[in-house]
């Protein structure tokens, strides 16, 4: 048997399949990443995968066909004989060259091309400059005309995203930790019922809350401010936070708690000196969750910030660009990457905590 006892599938088969799946998963993001560094006219004239070394037709000579040649009959160039329509498509000669008719029938030119390896792809940071800049940027169109228009000002949106995200992560953590401790280690009437409410609210769709909260926000003149989003994300994030931290805090060894109570420590002291430091991994898990959730959120920002300029976060700016610059892929790809760089960095550096939170957060 070709299969070993410990690993009954051939290793090559396992690794091969896995590699194919990983490649499929990677390609979409790779396309965005590569394109964001390509010059605008190259993005529009060739697929991003052409940056890989490949053979391509390169023009080696060009000539003007003699005006006397009958263009409606088969013609001969470089030893290839074909009709005008065929030359328009490109005709390959016996020695591996290609003859192409460029332009119209009467005044066009004929190019002789041959296959050569593509050189190094050109790399530019202009796209990033254009999306990040808040001031006017000069854009050169295909025809060489220069147009000045406003930059996408994503650097401003980036700062807004940070300003929205950090407090929206910090504020709920402490509140959730207190509540989780209360539910896990205190006895009070209605404890089970109230906690069941928390668990039930875990899956409640936000849509249900948006309108009444927005109504109140308008009365309080809160809409369009950071504060509105911080408070909303705190409220929306709390059920998961309490649930995650409860799972962790309730599983702390009972002996430690009891020893502390026997020593005469108050609940507050136990919580502050003992439980909070011990819960760091769970706090970190939730912090990453909440960070990714708030940073990547579009709906809450869209409703509560709306179209107030100067406060818009990255997801909103990016979604606006999709609407207004739908085919400017040099801007969309760079903008897309700007919006995902920070979560990717956080995600890969703290993946451990994130995974732990995922497995703890599901009601098994």
């Amino acid at each position: 048997m070709a299969m070993s006892k410990g690993n009954p599938f051939p290793r090559a088969f396992v690794n091969g399949t896995l590699a194919v799946i990983c490649l499929i998963w990677l390609i979409p993001t790779l396309g965005l990443f590569v394109s964001s560094f390509r010059p605008r006219d190259e993005i529009m004239s060739s697929g991003w995968w052409t940056v890989l070394p490949h053979k391509q037709w390169v023009t080696v000579s060009e000539m003007k066909p003699d005006a006397t040649i009958d263009r409606n009959a088969p013609m001969t160039f470089e030893g290839a004989t074909a009709t005008f329509e065929q030359f328009r498509q490109g005709v390959e000669t016996a020695d591996g060259k290609r003859v192409v008719w460029i332009g119209n029938k009467r005044a066009g030119t004929v190019q002789v091309q041959q296959q050569e390896w593509s050189g190094l792809p050109s790399v530019t940071l202009q796209n990033y400059h254009d999306v990040l800049a808040g001031k006017d940027v000069t854009i050169q169109s295909d025809t060489g005309e220069e147009a000045v228009r406003k930059g996408e000002d994503m650097s401003d949106a980036f700062i807004n995203s940070i300003a929205v995200t950090l407090p929206a992560v910090i504020i709920p953590i402490l509140m959730a930790a207190f509540a989780a401790y209360g539910f896990a280690w205190m006895r009070f009437p209605g404890r089970k019922l109230v906690f069941a409410l928390m668990v039930a609210l875990l899956v409640v769709p936000l849509q249900i809350a948006l309108v009444p909260v927005l109504t109140d926000y308008v009365h309080l003149r809160l809409n369009g401010t950071y504060l509105s989003v911080w408070l909303a994300h705190t409220g929306f994030g709390l059920p998961l936070a309490v649930f995650l931290l409860y799972n962790y805090i309730s599983s702390l060894p009972r002996e430690i708690m009891e020893a502390a109570i026997v020593d005469g420590a108050s609940h507050f002291k136990i919580f502050w000196r003992l439980v909070l430091p011990l819960s760091t991994p769970a706090l970190a898990s939730f912090a990453i969750f909440q960070f990714l959730w708030v940073w990547n959120d579009y709906l809450v920002a869209l409703i509560f910030i709306g179209n107030v300029p100067g406060v818009q976060v990255l997801t909103m700016r990016l979604a606006d660009m999709v609407g207004s610059r739908g085919s400017d892929w040099h801007l969309l790809t760079a903008g897309g990457f700007v919006s995902m760089i920070l979560p990717l960095v956080i995600f890969f550096s703290l993946q451990r905590y994130f995974v732990r939170g995922l497995t703890a957060g599901s009601v098994k």
Binding site: P172, I208, L210
Partner: protein, 372 residues
């Protein structure tokens, strides 16, 4: 004589203690009032702040984190001055009340308010009973919306589970486990809007005479086909091209949970089956799948909830055009674009009702675990 001095000493010590106690209580009270005022004033300060953005954010973190900490401390101190049987009742309230207040105001109460709004007409003036719900379940555009959500659930959940299970099983047997997992997992860190941009680029279509820069159409053209507008044509199957995005994003989540579950299956059971001559597929379907059934249900529930609420992807990719509206985008359209508050609220309530089975399931599971 000596007795009397001791008495006097004890008395003055007692007096000093009670004075200290009183002073501390007073200080705590003042501190509490100051903290409450700071929190309250901070609210208006932050609402109307013109300071540089990051300064405001930094201040907000101190305001939110520090303010809450002081408030907790003060409330706890005050509760500790209360007689001990009152303490028992007050201190838990200090611990859990703020979180409960937030959750009630931001989630529980709005559900009731939205339900009430759903019984009124488009600008909330006249009571119309269940008329909005009749519209929700009879209007053709709503039926298309529901059909799409069913497509999302059926295809999204099924393929996420299958691909998650496949990757978890393969990665478990590979030396490149952590690398493969990180790659499959990565889309989870990306926003749905960002993912929308990524995939819009893949589906990009141009005139057949132009070079195709969208990967999918480039592949189709390379095989001699005609470029297609994937997300606009072939309704309702164009929805599948949007659903692919969510499968791409959620497979990582399914993989992580399945991977943990697979590793928890005792290896001696698997070995025993192998010794008995069971093939690898037999082991997979007869041993592995049944032992991780609980996780499969959990992942399905989570993915179903996720797809039910799907919003950003559809809004970015099509804006709900070409028959791709889902409940969440329809809610947004009706409420914010059409300004039909009653209908919008009714749609939100329907969305809430659809997640109730999962809610009940979660509660059951939780109760089961807690009584153990």
């Amino acid at each position: 004589m000596s007795d009397r001095t001791t008495d006097a000493d004890a008395l003055s010590a007692e007096l000093a203690r009670s004075r200290r106690r009183r002073n501390r209580a007073l200080l705590t009270l003042i501190g509490g009032i100051l903290a409450a005022v700071a929190l309250f004033e901070g609210f208006f300060l932050l609402r109307d702040s013109q300071a540089p953005k990051l300064v405001t954010a930094l201040f907000a973190m101190v305001w939110g984190g520090g303010g809450m900490a002081i408030l907790y401390l003060v409330a706890n101190q005050l509760a500790e001055f209360a007689p001990s049987e009152w303490q028992k009742r007050l201190i838990p309230i200090v611990f859990v009340a703020p979180a409960i207040a937030f959750v009630v105001y931001f989630l529980a109460l709005p559900a009731v308010r939205t339900f009430i709004a759903s019984l009124y007409d488009r600008d909330g003036t006249n009571f119309v009973g269940l008329a909005n719900y009749i519209t929700v379940f009879t209007e053709p555009f709503m039926l298309v919306t529901f059909r799409n959500n069913v497509l999302w659930i059926v295809f999204g959940a099924t393929f996420t589970i299958i691909s998650g299970l496949l990757v978890a099983t393969l990665a478990d047997r590979s030396r490149f486990e952590s690398l493969a997992k990180a790659i499959i997992f990565m889309p989870m860190a990306i926003s749905l809007v960002g993912a929308g941009v990524i995939w819009k680029f893949i589906y990009a279509v141009r005139d057949p005479s132009d070079v195709q820069i969208g990967l999918l159409n480039a592949i189709v053209v390379a095989f001699g086909g005609e470029p297609q507008a994937w997300i606009a044509q072939l309704q309702p199957w164009n929805n599948l091209f949007l659903i692919v995005i969510v499968i791409w994003m959620q497979t990582g989540y399914a993989m992580v949970l399945f991977s943990a579950a697979i590793k928890a299956v005792p290896s001696d059971i698997l070995e025993a089956a192998r010794v008995d001559g069971a093939g690898e597929f037999r082991i997979f379907f007869s041993i592995l799948i049944p032992s991780i059934m609980g996780t499969i249900v959990t992942v399905s529930a989570t993915v179903i909830i996720f797809t039910l609420k799907i919003f950003d992807v559809v809004l970015v990719m099509t804006g709900g055009q070409y028959g791709t509206d889902v409940i969440a985008t329809q809610f947004y359209n009706q409420y914010f674009t059409n300004r039909n508050f009653g209908l919008g609220s009714a749609i939100a309530i329907v969305l809430l009702i659809t997640v109730i089975p999962v809610m009940v399931y979660n509660l059951r599971q939780f109760n089961k675990r807690e009584t153990l």
